[in-house]
Amino acid sequence: MMEAQKYVWEGAIPLQIHLHESEVTTLPPPLPALILAPRIGYLPLLIPHIKPHFSSALPPGVDTVWFEYKGLPLKWYIPTGVLFDLLCVEPERPWNLTVHFRGYPGNILIPCEGEDSVKWSFINSLKEASYIINGNCKNVMNISQPDQVELWHSVFNGNLEAYLKVSSKLKLGTAGHEYSANLSSGSFVSRQSAGDTDATGQVKTGRVPVRLYVWGVSEDFDDLEDAPQIDSWDKISYINRPVEIHGEEGKCFTLLDAVKSLLPEHFQYKSLTNEESSKEEGEDEQKVPSEEGGENLSEYVESCYPSDNAEVKLVRIQGIEPKLEIPFSWVVHNLMNPEHFLHVCVCLKFSQVKIPSDG
């Protein structure tokens, strides 16, 4: 299980960073900076490495650094790997970005004061993940100061070993953790759920921190290079909503199930349409419909199509496109980011009503 996590932590995007032409004051202009950016890292953390490269060319003034890709200002609090997966559908290597040291677009981007801002955003997300998993932020808030420093440094330096040591104190085991064990023993089947935890103390139901970045197309594309370029954040639907896992006997909760559960407007995922009407306490809970128990996976996938108005065209996580039938818990456990969120880029294709064209 360590293997996949190691690859994720070692993953990096080669960047070629160009100084924006309006800020070049020297002749000849400076060459672009080449840097390997960790997938799980954040662009502002690269600034200390980039700045020396350009500082002699900059106009006088105070630095307010921001990055853009093809005119789109980049949201600095989104991990670098996610930005790349989302905005570079056909992966571009190196990824050509433009850096600005002036003219921060404060009406579009929230302010960034370097490493401190990134660290704060990271801790904030970690608290949110903790709340989603445990129902409170206590573990994160009560972490000792040295441990907090150690945790941040492990992320900053991409040190997985150090990270695992500190993060285990946070007790952020997610629902479905036991699936990892099942996977290695060759079985994908979940055990019977008797409420939140069963006799062995493993979590069966629960919430998983997920951030979904969805964009849509109306036409099919066979090659990724034909996919439309995202030129505005308004074209991306950002869904910061936990996936709710309900352990079901004899049924594996797949990555596809998880994605569709977060998009109820487009996919009729039966067991979760009852989610909103049931509360965790007091009232009688609506039982998850048991009629699905008999379906096998391919039937289930096909049955989603006729009643849905969209099709999942692409799912990209940590730069890979996992098979959609993979158990969701495995995906979470191995591909999540250090703040315990799983970031998923999804492209949906919508069927449009064809308007007959007049001859």
Binding site: Y131, P209, E275, L348
Partner: protein
């Protein structure tokens, strides 16, 4: 609703129901002041929404709020003790939000308030913007000066966990946000502290109004007295 096992949070559908109730009641009770409205947000902007969506947020925009520095002693505090907002001796301002004429500040500031549901925390969250009449946004330091005194103090004590500047979940722009971390806990305390609220079968409608009566204090939004008179 069984209060003892409730954790103070609500679902998206409940938020939507509570929001609709708030909009209706506010209109009835406070017809002279600007109304809250529900802004529907289909999650996928490129697809026309044919159905009524429960996704969305409450909006109250372009309002002027009184700075109530001198009144802070009278305001109900966040629930540490049993309290009901409606029985406190508050200023009897029916029209809570509009100020007629000049305030005592250099310039009049306008607020946009949005109440957005947070799926991770399962509670409402207040997002707000403050700007001058020419549309120029206030800097954080200036916003602090315009906030009621007691919330400015809390702000100074714990800046990073109280008001933060984050991206609006729907609008792709920076807004100020009140951090939702403890909301579930104090909403539970609030309901536990008020027997009448707990008994009330329409508790979900009361939830949002009660929430707003506390959270609104941060920016100086006063809830019309009649809104709190539920039973």
């Amino acid at each position: 609703m069984d209060i003892s096992s409730w954790d103070g949070t609500i679902s998206l559908a409940e938020f939507h129901a509570a929001a609709c109730a708030l909009v209706e009641k506010w209109k009835k009770v406070s017809s002279a002041s600007p109304p809250w409205s529900w802004v529907s947000c289909p999650k996928q902007p490129w697809v026309a929404s044919h159905e009524v969506s429960v996704e969305g947020y409450l909006s109250l925009e372009n309002i002027i709020l009184v700075s109530i520095k001198e009144e802070h002693d009278e305001l109900p505090s966040f629930p540490q003790k049993e309290e009901t907002s409606c029985s406190d001796k508050e200023e009897s301002i029916d029209i809570a939000t509009l100020v007629q004429g000049q305030s005592d500040h250099d310039e009049i500031c306008y607020y946009d308030l949005h109440i957005v549901y947070s799926a991770p925390y399962r509670v409402p969250v207040l997002y707000f913007r403050v700007y001058y009449s020419d549309g120029e946004p206030l800097q954080f330091e200036d916003i602090k000066k315009h906030l009621p005194a007691h919330s400015a103090k809390t702000l100074l004590d714990s800046k990073w966990t109280f008001i933060t500047q984050e991206e609006h979940p729907y609008l792709n722009r920076p807004w100020y946000k009140l951090h939702p971390c403890g909301t579930g806990e104090w909403m539970k305390l609030l309901f536990q502290g008020d027997v009448s609220l707990a008994r009330n079968g329409a508790a979900i409608e009361v939830y949002l109004i009660s929430w707003l009566s506390f959270v609104g204090q941060v920016v100086g939004l006063r809830i019309p007295y009649e809104m709190l008179n539920q039973l």
